[in-house]
Symmetry: C3
Subunit: 374 residues, 3 copies
């Protein structure tokens, strides 16, 4: 890790995938639980502060709260409480240099800020990403098996009017082995019937997840997929982006961008897909802040075979204001380290380095997503 | 690679997974065969000394036998023979800085030292890890299909009284796709019947491997799993730790530690599991000495998302005394390189670095395993 | 990246897997399409020059065409056209330091140079690698289901007389999960019948791909397998070399070399197979030039557990003369960086480093392949 290159330090960012922030104060156990993808500190383990992300909080976040670098965890949390969640959020969010946040508001919406509140806290633009499954789970409650398809398409069409993009969490529910063809109306009806009869509000049916995605593609909106790394609910071996190969091959001629989120530890596989399929884009959000000082190593692996025109920036920050700051700062660190090594080796010119930064930092996102820019 | 940080050089280690050492003298072909996971030097290839582990032997082991660094292989083996296997074992084992060795005595026990002999050679404590399959394969010879479950539980209970932990080699026999529920008594009886009728002494049946593990969990003893890298008997694609996801999810509330051994080249997957499941721990033994100067790169990947409270040290040394030395020295090198880079970048304080070392080097193991410490 | 070690800079190379070069002039869109495994620049993305391979062309190829480093893409292509394809090919091919090229002439033979023309352009020796599927697809047109096996064996026998080795592209057609036994004559006849009835000239049948490979093994010629990374036609998840485990275990006693090509991003898995199976060898061709300045990082991962006697050099260059130059230059860079770091750390002697270079650069290939050397 070296000092940031000036054009990386000043790079305006579009965070194309993140979530709302909590506005209540959080105690240590809550803080630790939100710090990583673990549900809670382990009685068999030690503090989650003893991890690269925990060390990164103490190194990179403590100074933002006026503490010395490496302040102990308890001192950090005390100072955090003293400042209050709103002030903490403002400091971290406003320091990111992010002009536009694309918020997936579909997970635990009641305990997080919505898009408008977030924009205000961050003093930036915030845009909605609609989680397909959340829409489906709302729609199913008021419809029949035969009526589900139309009701979903109708509701999604309305939600899409003000959305920058859509997101599928099929990975969490059935894995990524989606077939390449949209299901037939009869298949959708049958699946919706099974879902209704099951009595569970939670969608987990390959036919329906696929139907949701194809309905989204028909609207022409970019579709994000959760891929790879996530919490203990994920069956990670079903979340390798390569399972999407048939689906991607079948949808490449539609001209609709598909965005593979996170991808770790399958980020090289995602980079391959981003190279060979015209409509595929990838990031390493979530891993960036979780891996702390190793974030640059992960980003470098993503950049091996993925063209710079196909890489995006995201934090996948959720809940803790620190995560926006860390995701952003560690992304800048990784990009700067990568480019500085290339410049030192004479492998690219500074003009190129600055141009590639702009692609990855915001230009790719602005080319792909639908929203008006100031 | 840089000089070891003083607190890494002096770190007392618990080697939570290794095997006995051979006490006979070994000729070159034997030595090469024990050096890596290959069965023997290849007639199509070249000497196994022409590998990173072979270079590491000549770099790091030659001086321990009073030879200059990089002494040729033949000179090395000549000097080794001159000193005799017992003196060689004493030099390498006593120089590791390991206070406690946890020995899996279940593979080729007749050609290796047992626990007591090992402790004496190493001038350290040695503890037994009981290989579940070895117990089952002994028990099956004197029982019936219907009597197997009780006979196994009884024998394991006895063996467990003096054991620090248990180990499953399901990976070698059926892969890691174990179901999350213990098999029913009827299933165990049926499987034991199949085994008895097959006439083979070797256990390879998902139901029974799973029964063994659950019987072990009921005793509350930590259970190690062979994962990933091993010899040509392994079907490596069935040994990705992610195949254990359902099993780990089903056993997370039991409070019994599960230890994922080796893991290479799936060590990032293992790190993920160690982060999200309370009871899961991981190491990169075996790869550490096999990868020689690349060991630090592998350890760094493990440390990306696994909390320091969930990482253990092991060598998985087997047979050759050199492997204990190399596994230990290269682990120290990797840990030191990682921490030194972090310290140089200001990413952690020296106090933290020393504390994290202690966790990984011995504290985690002492918290998890059952044995009395002096 | 540092200056090349002298014995790496001067190392004579055998490129054990590449293709012919195009001798027509190419426009920018064609050039970009041949630069990576993408079919064409993406309308949603940006120029494929904005990738590590694109930057490597401008850094490392521009000076060969008398342009300054980092010349813009358009200036580069203009100069390329000015010199003409033949002169460009001569400059790049003759500058590689390659003494022997092993050419797979089985893909798009009409638009690429053949072996003789290539040898002349490169002023080097060129040898034929026979693509098994190309022979089968030629033979099937003139035979019956029952006659296919003998006709194929007969034709392959003839082609093999002047061939250095054989190649299977089963990965592209059915994936690498080949069974370990040769199919029975009845199975081959049945499969050939299915193929004939299908009316498609393209072979894609596990039984037949396997039959081709075993017929090749019977001839005793080294058999190359496409593994891992390739274009959008590949189902990459079926191309992990670990899927070959059963096949490799079943064929290890034949003494016939099996060569795993490319392997990225599964190159650590390939290294494992190269360590534990006597007859298995591996390279990281294709990835080397595609990953540009990251090629050294990839090569280092391959070298972790694969013995140096089991690693080969290849470019997998296809079509563009630049790719032979880049694949070679980046391989030298990676090998040199790796060895320099080892030398700086005292992890090997310079004598060893030079010897290991020779193994990987040409000695392993000369030991394995069948051809007479000047």
């Amino acid at each position: 890790m070296t000092d940031l290159l000036p054009f990386v330090a000043d790079l305006p960012l579009v965070d194309h995938h993140c979530h709302g922030v909590v506005t209540r104060d959080v105690a240590r156990a809550d803080f630790e639980a939100m710090l990583t993808e673990a549900d809670a500190p382990s009685p068999l383990g030690t503090s989650l502060f003893d991890s690269l992300i925990g060390l990164a909080v103490r190194e990179r976040c403590a100074p933002v709260l006026d503490l010395p670098k490496h302040a102990p965890a308890d001192a950090y949390l005390e100072r955090r409480a003293e400042l209050g969640a709103a002030e903490v959020a403002r400091r971290f969010l406003r320091g990111t240099g992010t002009t536009d946040f694309l918020l997936d508001g579909g997970f635990l919406p009641d305990s997080l800020t919505g898009t408008h509140e977030f924009a205000e806290l961050a003093d930036a633009r915030a845009h909605d990403i609609v989680r397909l499954e959340q829409v489906a789970e709302a729609v199913i409650r008021g419809t029949t098996a035969g009526g589900f398809a139309a009701a979903f398409a109708d509701e999604l069409g309305k939600r899409a009017e003000t959305a920058a993009g859509l997101k599928s969490i099929a990975a969490y529910r059935v894995g990524l082995q989606l077939a390449g063809e949209p299901p037939s109306p009869a298949e959708v009806t049958a699946a919706a019937g099974r879902w209704l009869r099951s009595g569970t509000p939670r969608l987990a049916d390959e036919v329906l997840h696929r139907f949701l995605v194809f309905t989204g593609l028909d609207l022409g909106l970019p579709v994000q997929f959760h891929v790879g790394y996530g919490d203990a609910d994920v069956d990670l071996h079903r979340c390798d982006p390569l399972h999407l190969t048939a689906f991607l091959r079948a949808t490449r001629d539609r001209g609709v961008p598909i965005l593979l989120l996170h991808n770790y530890p399958f980020h090289r596989n995602a980079a391959y897909l981003a190279q060979v399929f015209e409509h595929v884009f990838a990031d390493v959000g979530l891993a960036t802040h979780n891996a702390g000082l190793r974030a640059p190593a992960i980003l470098a692996e993503l950049l091996e075979i993925a063209p710079f025109g196909k890489i995006l920036f995201s934090t996948d920050a959720f809940g803790l204001a620190e995560l926006y700051h860390l995701g952003t700062a560690l992304f800048r660190q990784g990009l700067s380290d990568f480019l500085r090594a290339a410049l030192d080796a004479g492998a690219m010119s500074e003009v190129d380095a600055a141009r590639l930064c702009a692609l990855v930092g915001h230009e790719n996102a602005k080319r792909i997503y639908r929203w008006e820019h100031a």
